[in-house]
Amino acid sequence: MAAFWSVKRSDTTSHVGSGALALAVVGLAVVPQVWNASVVQQLTTLLILVMLAAMWNALSGYAGLVSVGQQSFIGFGAYTTIFLTQQGVAPYLAVALAPLAAAGLAICLAPLVLRLRGGQFAVGTWVVAEAIALMVMLDHGLGGGTGVSLRGLNVLPSHIRRAYTYWLALAFVVLLLGLLFLLLRSRSGAALQAIRDDEHAAASVGVRTAPLKLAIYVLAGFGCGAAGALTLANTLFIQPRSIFGVHWSAFMIFMVLVGGLGTFEGPIVGAVVFFAIQNWFSDGGPWYLIGLGAVAVAFALFLPRGLWSVVSQGRQIQLLPVGYHLSRRPTP
């Protein structure tokens, strides 16, 4: 008759999944020892994409904030790295410090943008990104509108430099996913998902939404700052128009929608898919972007939980135990 329910945070698949993930990290760590430098550079790009997708997903999938302006932090992270090296800070230290500056920027911007809702937040953050880009372009010390190179790294042999950048990117991915994991595992995780589902309802049952949204926004600023600094370390040259470009937001939205909005694993899947598409089709010019836009729309409308929901459908597979599961157990 009456079935008893138990709440579980993890099950066999998630134990296996966590193990597999740990193995994957170890496997990824030895890549520079095995593969050549161009593969390492490509994989660094992939890691940056994973970071970006995870951060955008944290914002919209968990805090309900659709941002079209995370390029603020990507560009700010990259330009802070330039600025710090100009002040004599060692390049890799600058790359590691820049994300903290981006988090600081997020803290400063939060009172301004977090009061916005829905579409207003989306366009509001975009305006902020444009304004920051324009201010950077006005600063001739930072190369103005024409762009600037990261000095100090090209003294290293290229394979060494690429390996270091790669490891740093891997470390940031592990750190960011770890922070996100802890946030979702904490008491706040359930609250965040309540905010995502219905902010007014969550607030009405006493969930304090503001500090959580702030935490996510600052984390996303930190993560996107890291992605920007690492993009600079990976390519050694940036232009304000491109590092502050809205195409970053398009890519993030694509990855998260395709992978699975509001799931922990989805953005990783989406980043891999996007990475593959980028390598195969990016020569297609406008058609490539038309395809990206159309696919994103199709996923938003017809498969809002993305590819990951197809993979995990009905089986509740989780690589990491971030959710809650009800399981029926027989009456004792």
């Binding site: 829905g118 304004a131 010019g285 406008p286 409308l301």
Partner: protein, 298 residues
């Protein structure tokens, strides 16, 4: 003299921004969505006008009128297909859908028309270049006055329709409470489709005047969306005359910024927007769910 000139040019430029903002404001007011493809649809309209004007050898002003039926149809169809579906699946989906649409429209234009920068000023005759001279450094261009007049006419006409007609009443009712509107027999989907049709048509008018006033290319859309959004927010959400005031404020901020240094022009506009957002009015507008949209003057 340069300051006076800057202010005059800014006011006139504000007319253009108000035209861009009108449709954005209407769609937000009625459906509570911000159409991120608004700027790109305006540029699509500019290309349609350009095609009609160059292929049909007619004045861009006639071409603008001629393109309206097509744009109304596009808006209506857009709501009936993409938007109505995305509106059913939550608050975030329309944003994602319209952002995807923006990318598709922008790149489709790039594919068809290439990245060449075009303008319609050359085809528009004296109206586009001449003006009233009020001294050495002060001139009031005919075109700017025309655009401002069109903006006032469009916003005022829309206001009149909303307040005086049964159609406008239904639109306001649906904006305030779609379910209660359905309970008195008003289908929200029909009202939304009409609102989108009007919004896209006004966007096309704005796009055409952008093309006559300066230049455009397939990537012009996002900037116009941002300006439109700034105008809407500066003017205060939910008011059509406010949108005109917002457009004018933005225009004046940009031209005054440009007097200091041409590089400051757009940044000055962004800063005014951010100041409004940070100021007490910003709190008022955003601290609660914005009020149902209502034409001003009540």
């Amino acid at each position: 003299m340069t300051w006076a000139n800057a202010i005059i040019q800014g006011v006139l430029l504000g007319g253009l921004y108000a035209l861009f903002a009108c449709g954005l404001s209407l769609m937000f007011g009625v459906m509570r969505i911000i159409n991120l493809a608004h700027g790109d649809l305006a540029v699509l309209g500019a290309f349609v006008v350009w095609l009609i004007a160059t292929q049909g050898h007619v004045s861009p002003f006639i071409a603008t009128v001629a393109c309206l039926p097509l744009m109304i149809l596009i808006g209506y169809g857009l709501q009936r297909t993409l938007l109505s579906r995305s509106l059913r699946s939550g608050e975030l989906t329309p944003l994602l859908t319209t952002f995807g649409l923006a990318i598709v429209v922008q790149n489709a234009l790039l594919q068809v028309f290439s990245a060449d920068v075009r303008g319609l000023g050359g085809l528009s005759g004296l109206l586009a270049v001449d003006g009233w001279r009020l001294g050495d450094q002060l001139a009031v261009p005919y075109l700017g006055v025309t655009i401002l007049a069109v903006a006032v006419a469009v916003l005022g006409g829309l206001q009149l329709v909303l307040q005086r007609t049964a159609f406008g009443r239904e639109m306001r009712a649906t904006a305030q409470d779609p379910e209660a509107a359905a309970l008195v027999g008003i289908p929200a989907s029909q009202v939304y489709a009409r609102a989108t049709a009007i919004a896209v048509a006004t966007a096309a008018i704005a796009g055409a005047f952008l093309a006559i006033h300066s230049t455009f290319d397939p990537s012009s859309g996002p900037t116009q969306l941002i300006f439109a959004f700034e105008a809407v927010v500066i003017g205060g959400l939910g008011s059509l005359w406010g949108t005109l005031a917002g457009g004018v404020t933005l225009g004046v901020a940009q031209t005054i910024g440009a007097v200091i240094d041409p590089q400051y022009s757009i940044l000055a506009g962004h800063l005014v927007f951010l100041i409004v957002l940070a100021g007490p009015r910003g709190w008022l507008v955003f601290s609660r769910r914005p009020r149902a949209w209502q034409p001003s003057g009540r």
